[in-house]
């Protein structure tokens, strides 16, 4: 061990430090941090996020953004059965079969559509998670009971379930939201329980238990937070399906009956009648639905990739 001048030592150390970066520094970086690093690098994620944020903004400021009142029948007098005036000064996308400004209706419609999607998904997540935590945290017979129930819910195909619910609750937007939410519940319950069980048997949880930490603290302090990432992913994806399902329900005549509230699904199914005269009336709302759904899906998928260790390569 020949003594070395501090100068050299420092020199080498800094070289080492520099060299240290050359291989990817996986060590020490927290999962979420690295996840977000990956997200920011992922163009898909960016695209999705941009779409989603854009539409959320539109929905939020719809009244300000909408150039016209979505309900006023501006050009009704010009409408003849079989002829609907197309786009023109002041009506960039044209008007619907009652002479209302299509653009404004699309903008304002985003509100209702997204609202239905978000609320119903939130509802599904909350209830589903409650069940999942119940099962995952306590296990034993609680687990069995809850999961049996969830399995039963799962055994009814989604839309059929939604149909039954909204037939039961009658036609209003809340019924619609609940109907969609119910179809989401079992998914989240299962998901959360699954990942919680996985987490519960994970080393750190064992370690915590070994250290004699209270179960509740382990569950809510360690297990739950760590189980959330799949839920977040699924929720993002569910938003897409929720919006599409809402459209499907209004096609089945089970949508929100309040015509004073424009909504893409309703606009779309209503426009089918004018497909031959003004396909735009159907195409635009359809595009809105598709793009938003796509946005959420992209975001969800890239979130999944970012959070799921399996995808890291």
């Amino acid at each position: 061990m020949t003594a070395m001048g501090d100068v050299k030592r420092r020199r080498i150390d800094e070289l080492a430090a520099r060299a240290g970066q050359v291989p990817e520094g996986e060590g020490g970086v927290s999962l979420t941090k690295s996840a977000f690093r990956r997200l920011r690098r992922n163009p898909v994620a960016i695209t999705g996020a941009v779409i989603v944020v854009l539409f959320l903004l539109v929905a939020a400021f719809a009244p300000l953004l909408a150039p016209k009142d979505p309900l006023t029948q501006y050009l009704l007098s010009e409408i003849r059965p079989g002829t609907i005036p197309g786009s023109r000064e002041g009506f960039p996308l044209g008007v619907d079969n009652l002479g209302r400004d299509l653009l404004s209706r699309l903008i304002v419609g985003s509100r209702q559509s997204l609202l239905i999607g978000v609320v119903s998904t939130l509802l599904g997540v909350v209830v589903g998670m409650a069940l999942g935590v119940l099962a995952g945290a306590f296990g034993g017979w609680v687990d069995t009971v809850v999961m049996r129930f969830v399995d039963i819910l799962l055994s009814i195909p989604g839309l059929l379930m939604a149909i039954s619910i909204s037939v039961l609750l009658g036609q209003n937007q809340y019924a619609l939201m609940i109907a969609i939410a119910v179809t989401q519940v079992p998914v989240f319950a299962r998901l959360l329980r699954g990942s919680m069980l996985a987490q519960r048997d994970s080393d750190y949880a064992l370690a915590a238990r070994a250290l004699g930490i209270r179960r509740s603290r382990i569950v809510f302090g360690h297990v739950l937070p760590n189980s959330l990432s799949p839920v977040i992913v699924q929720a993002t994806l569910s938003l897409a399906t929720a919006i599409i399902e809402a459209a499907a329900l209004s096609f089945l005549g089970l949508g929100d009956p309040d015509l004073a509230r424009p909504e893409w699904g309703a606009m779309l199914s209503n426009a089918q009648a004018f497909l031959s005269i003004r396909p735009e009336l159907a195409v635009y709302p359809a595009l809105c639905i598709i793009v938003v759904a796509l946005g959420f899906t992209l975001l969800g998928e890239s979130l999944r990739e970012a959070l799921d260790p399996k995808f890291r390569r």
Partner: protein
Amino acid sequence: MQRRPPRVLAAGAAALTAVTLAACASSDRDSGEGEGGGEAQSGGTLVFGAAGDPAMLDPAFGSDGETFRVARQIHEGLLGNELGGTEPVPELAEDYEVSDDGLEYTFNLRQGVQFHDGTDFNAEAVCFNFDRWYNFEGLATSPSASYYYQAVFGGFASTPDTPSIYESCEATDESTAVIRLTQVTSKFPSALALPAFSIQSPEALQQYDADNLSGSEDALSYSEYALEHPTGTGPFRFESWDRGNGEVTIVRNEDYWGEAPALDSIIFRTISDQNTRRQELQAGSIDGYDFVAPADYQSLEDEGFQVLVRDPFNILYLGFNGGNVPGTNANLALQDPRVRQAIAHAIDRETIVNSLLPEGAEAATQFVPPTVDGWAEDVTTYDYDPDRARQLLQEAGAEGTTLRFYYPTEVSRPYLPDPAAMFQVINQNLVDAGFTIEPVALPWNPDYTNAVQAGQADIHLLGWTGDYNDAYNFIGTFFAEQSNNQASAEFGSFSAPEIFAALAEADAEPDPANRTEQYQEANRLIMDYLPGVPISHSPPALVVAENVQGLEPSPLTAEVFSTVSITD
């Protein structure tokens, strides 16, 4: 617990047998026609897109258009409708005489007519049918079963408390049937042109136990006769009914008494979705369909299809719940004539007619179409005048009155092609006039019809397509006195003795000329009282492919396909 799995399996087994059973039924049903060949023979096959399945094919129990559409081809009544018109004309009866008191009708029957089962059509057969209706029992007497009989004849033998105007039918000889009534009614004999009063084969009726209804009022299960063996004298015979695919097949009645139809067969195929009907016509897999959306009239014409527009023979109105019936929370504001008038003035009928209804539609001034005797030139009219409406509302001190506005969803009626659109326009009108609207949307069947007929709405959209050319069939249906000096609950059971009187008087008037005047008087009274706002008469249309000839559109939507042929 242990016993479950076998049960599940048992279920599976049951499933199998069920399928095979259904299958057997269908296979021998079809084995009548030659194997699988799709090639059309001489007259060819017409495929017609219907909006819904027939309920069954015994017109005596029928009340909806889809049932009658098919039944009309299979069955005939003593009277029929003039081709493309609304006047009753002799059909199975060659002619008839009415006694001076208007209570006894003597029908001279067509001779040498046979039912599809080969039995003879004669006076006995006629009376058998009349007696059959009069002697309905149990479920058959429920309004959902025998609506039209009750509308025309009242009660049954089994219901003494609601008397029937039918007294007797007597077969004085092979070809003469004498029908006696207990009172004169405008409905008779015109109503006999309704398919509900078709003369069917007594043989078949008995053999297949036609009157045996089961199930419940709203879920009637019909007899074997009604489902598999409807037997009449019409130009077409019932062939088969594929319920799974909603396909009713009828074939030419070779020994039809009249001119035998050109078509070999007609298939009525149910396509509930209106856009699908249009696209299927465009794709050429059907030859025509009914209830063309107004939006499609032009585009279909342009594509070379024949859009057959019927003369308007219907009425769309906005009904008021103007009376106050205990139980139904009627809107008291509507009892004030000024409020009712305000509504009438608020509605922009012209725009509605131009923008929402097909070409040929006209704004209505009263509750009967102009083509009906009894339509009055000089009724009080309420033109579109928002200011006047507001003013009236002010006078009534009813600004901002909240109205529960009922409208149907999931339906398209000849007089109301797009209820949602209609609602939104009228809603806008009323809001502009200073009303507050509380929309209530209900699925047409059964919720909506039940709700509005029970008088749950403040204002509601409804309409009527005439059954035959008689004003009473319109205004009588709406405004005749129901019980203890009240109108139907649909109109809030309002009480307007003079209107009730006028209608009753007209109904009982044997002389057509006088009757017409009395109807006109009734219409004036009605439009003064304004129990609702008549909005429009609109012409529903059928559409058929270029190569379909000879289909005569009927204002009653009572087309008969015997005259139709397909050219290549």
